[in-house]
């Protein structure tokens, strides 16, 4: 090892920071595709939150929407796979059954989101309570159905596979690993980047975006100039359902090829935290999701390739459960540090009721 690096590493405490830095520089290029994959469901959940809350509807039910979409998509695959067979195509391993299952998963996300929209916008129930009830209902129903279905230990329609970029691209010095991070991925992860960019532009540069923000900040003013507040909110919550549905489909049809009860593991809520930390903007939400997911990936990396030396001894002495809990711990800390300086849309969570004409 370089004598300079060796000298730096031997300084107490600060040396540990240098060792950690060195370890991260060594492993991050290798695990970068995993970081983006782990960020995908979190970022999609955060995007769902962004389009809902920018129009003034708080959606706590993202987690339940995700698990519902994940289950229905997987189960449709189970039903269709035997009859629609066919060998997976070279690109992304697509089969007809998988495509239909994917479509139904997204549709399920929209349906569950519509239920939330109805409860929050039309029934004017408390939005956080409505979202929580959707979570409880989604976990209950998928758990019940999964127990019925799992008796036959069925096989689903499989999963989307990753695109293999040409080796020459990944071999490019310095930038190769970044290209690899975005290209060595399945279709949902790849489309995430496109969705984030499009949404960022649309939200701040299009008529839809302006209307959405107007309705979320000052619905009365928006109503006065002729914007249909109720319709904008319904449309946005349903669009959010598309993203939550994609997140669910990612979990049961790209990250894995099966459904497990509770497989969302709080990602919908981490997504909400990412939305807040990212200040209700799509790009910010993706950045926060990447921050949260990198803790997961680095935690895994530490248990598989432990760093050497003093740092390795310290990290190795922590129980494995610490690394499992790391994303949740980091989420709380970052949220507590950022939230006071991050302002939600002014009419967030408030139901809108047109005043009676006098």
């Amino acid at each position: 090892m370089d004598p300079l690096i060796q000298a730096l590493y031997s300084i107490p405490v600060a040396g540990l920071v240098f060792q950690l830095g060195g370890y991260l520089i060594a492993v991050v290029p290798g695990i970068s595709p995993i970081i983006l994959q782990a960020a995908t469901p979190i970022a999609l959940a955060a995007l769902c939150g962004v389009v809902c809350e920018r129009s003034g509807v708080v959606n706590i039910g993202i987690e339940g929407t995700m698990i519902g979409a994940a289950f229905v998509g997987w189960y449709v695959g189970v039903l269709l796979a035997p009859s629609l067979g066919g060998s997976p195509s070279a690109l992304f391993g697509v089969t007809p059954a998988l495509l239909i299952a994917f479509g139904v998963a997204v549709l399920t996300g929209v349906l569950i989101a519509t239920l939330h929209a109805w409860l929050s916008i039309s029934v004017r129930a408390d939005q956080i309570i409505a979202g929580t009830i959707i979570n409880i209902a989604a976990f209950g129903v998928t758990g019940y159905l999964d127990n019925l279905v799992a008796r036959g230990s069925p096989v689903g329609a499989g999963a989307f596979t990753q695109f293999n970029p040409p080796r020459e691209l990944a071999g490019i010095p310095v930038f190769g690993w970044i290209l690899n991070m975005f290209l060595n991925q399945g279709p949902i992860v790849m489309s995430l980047i496109v969705i984030v960019v499009v949404l960022q532009v649309m939200l701040f540069r299009s008529r839809w975006g302006l209307r959405t923000r107007a309705v979320g900040e000052h619905p009365k003013a928006a109503d006065t100039v002729g914007i249909d507040v109720i319709r904008v909110r319904y449309r946005n919550v349903m669009l959010g359902g598309v993203f939550a549905g994609l997140a669910g489909a990612y979990l049961s049809m790209e990250a894995t090829n099966s459904f497990q009860q509770g497989m969302t593991a709080g990602r919908g809520f981490i997504g909400l935290a990412a939305m807040i930390v990212g200040r209700w903007s799509p790009v910010g939400a993706l950045g926060a999701a990447l921050l949260f997911s990198s803790t997961t990936a680095i935690g895994q990396s530490i248990s598989i390739f432990p760093p050497s030396g003093q740092l390795g001894e310290i990290l190795g002495s922590l129980p494995g459960q610490f690394y499992d809990a790391l994303p949740y711990i980091v989420t709380i800390i970052v949220l507590a540090g950022v939230v006071g300086r991050s302002t939600p849309p002014a009419a967030d969570g408030l139901p809108y009721e047109r005043e009676a004409t006098t």
Partner: protein, 385 residues
């Protein structure tokens, strides 16, 4: 107030009207949920491919009732399952009163159980009158600490408890696994498990598992009712929940009240966890987990955050949880049907306006009246207070 019966003893008709206005919506929701449950049971016959049986829902509900109340032991077991739901329901209800939404019952329950087991095992040979209070106290303290964190985070930074408590639930699951497979592991089996709590176990008062925790739960109902309706602190909690601005102008400290309420809510959920490990399981495995946290939300919502109502709502869901295993054995319906019924009841309560309109109910109170202020503090504007 000018109606007859306002002075002296209220008339029978007035009492009935009052009872109907409070109970109508929960009762209608429960009945409708059973109907929806029946439809789901029919639907699930399609999935499993069983021959269609028209009477299956009735068979399932009969088995559920029999499992919950069919024998002396079943009744005692139902009471034992109900006790932690009462404590959890009180935890959520108390938080609701202060305008807080405690979704962290699961984590607080787990921490309470962990604290009780850790202290219970260390004092397993001490006399019961020393070991039991110490173990229970440790459970309550650990739960309160797990409630204090989201309370303090909300008061200091404005991080909404809905996100932080969920994160703390997952952290609690990891903490239990780490402690049970680490320092608390007995080491006698490949699957980590703690030692028996010995003398710290709660005495069984009735039947097979009618343990002291049932009495403690009912005592807690009285305590919470007393706190909320007979003390200044309880008054402050309710005012902070109803209108934090008014509370501050009246010289109260909303942040302090908020932290205190969340800690008390954690204490109650922690006590629930402590009674379960000290009264029922008597030890802990690394995968120890609970559904009490989310069931408690259902209990508090159904009870409209009323401490006495919590007892009845907890009994309903406790009976379902207690009776469900027999339903699975006799009718082949997975125990998770209880989750579906519970969720349906909640959905119907949330859609109360629609039900009242559809059934032309007049003079009936809304289903979610106690929760109208929850979303208000979302997004951190509490720090402005």
């Amino acid at each position: 107030m000018s109606e007859g019966g306002a002075r002296g003893i209220p008339s029978m008709g007035r009492l009935l009207r009052d009872a109907w206005s409070v109970l109508a919506l929960p009762l209608i929701s429960i009945v409708l949920a059973l109907v929806v449950g029946a439809a789901i049971i029919y639907g699930s016959q399609l999935i499993t491919g069983q021959p269609f049986t028209i009477g299956l829902p009735l068979e399932a509900y009969a088995a559920l009732t029999q499992g919950a109340f069919g024998s002396f032991n079943a009744v005692v077991n139902t009471a034992a399952v109900t006790a932690p739901l009462i404590l959890g329901g009180l935890s959520v209800a108390l938080a609701f009163k202060a305008g807080l939404f405690n979704i962290g019952g699961q984590g607080q329950f787990l921490l309470g159980a962990l604290g009780a087991v850790a202290v219970g095992v260390s004092f397993k040979s001490a006399p019961p009158f020393v070991a039991i209070p110490l173990a229970l106290g440790a459970g309550m303290l650990a739960g309160a600490a797990w409630g204090f964190i989201p309370g303090a985070l909300k008061a200091m930074s404005g991080a909404h408890e809905v996100v932080t408590t969920i994160m703390l639930n997952y952290i609690a699951i990891g903490l239990v696994a780490a402690m049970v497979s680490g320092p608390l592991d007995l080491g006698t089996s490949p699957n980590p498990i703690t030692d028996d709590v010995g003398n710290a176990a709660l005495p069984v008062l009735l039947g097979r598992n009618g343990h002291l925790g049932i009495v403690l739960a009912l005592a807690a109902v009285t305590a919470v009712w007393w706190l909320l309706s007979r003390t200044t602190r309880g008054f402050e909690i309710r005012i902070v929940g109803a209108n934090p601005d008014a509370a501050r102008y009246a010289g109260m400290r909303p942040r302090f009240v908020l932290i205190l309420t969340m800690s008390l809510a954690g204490l109650l959920a922690g006590l629930a966890g402590a009674t379960v490990v000290l009264g029922v399981t008597r030890n802990m495995t690394a995968s120890f987990n609970t559904s009490v946290g989310f069931d408690s939300i259902a209990v508090a919502l159904l009870a409209r955050s009323n401490p006495v109502g919590v007892v009845f709502a907890a009994l309903l869901f406790g009976a379902m949880r207690g009776g469900a295993p027999l339903m699975q054995i006799k009718a082949g319906i997975p125990v998770e049907l209880v989750d579906v019924l519970q969720a349906t009841i909640l959905l119907l309560l949330a859609a109360d306006r629609i039900i009242r309109h559809a059934l032309r109910l007049r003079g009936v109170r809304g289903g979610m009246a106690s929760t109208e202020t929850i979303t208000r503090t979302y997004g951190g504007d509490v720090t402005a207070n």
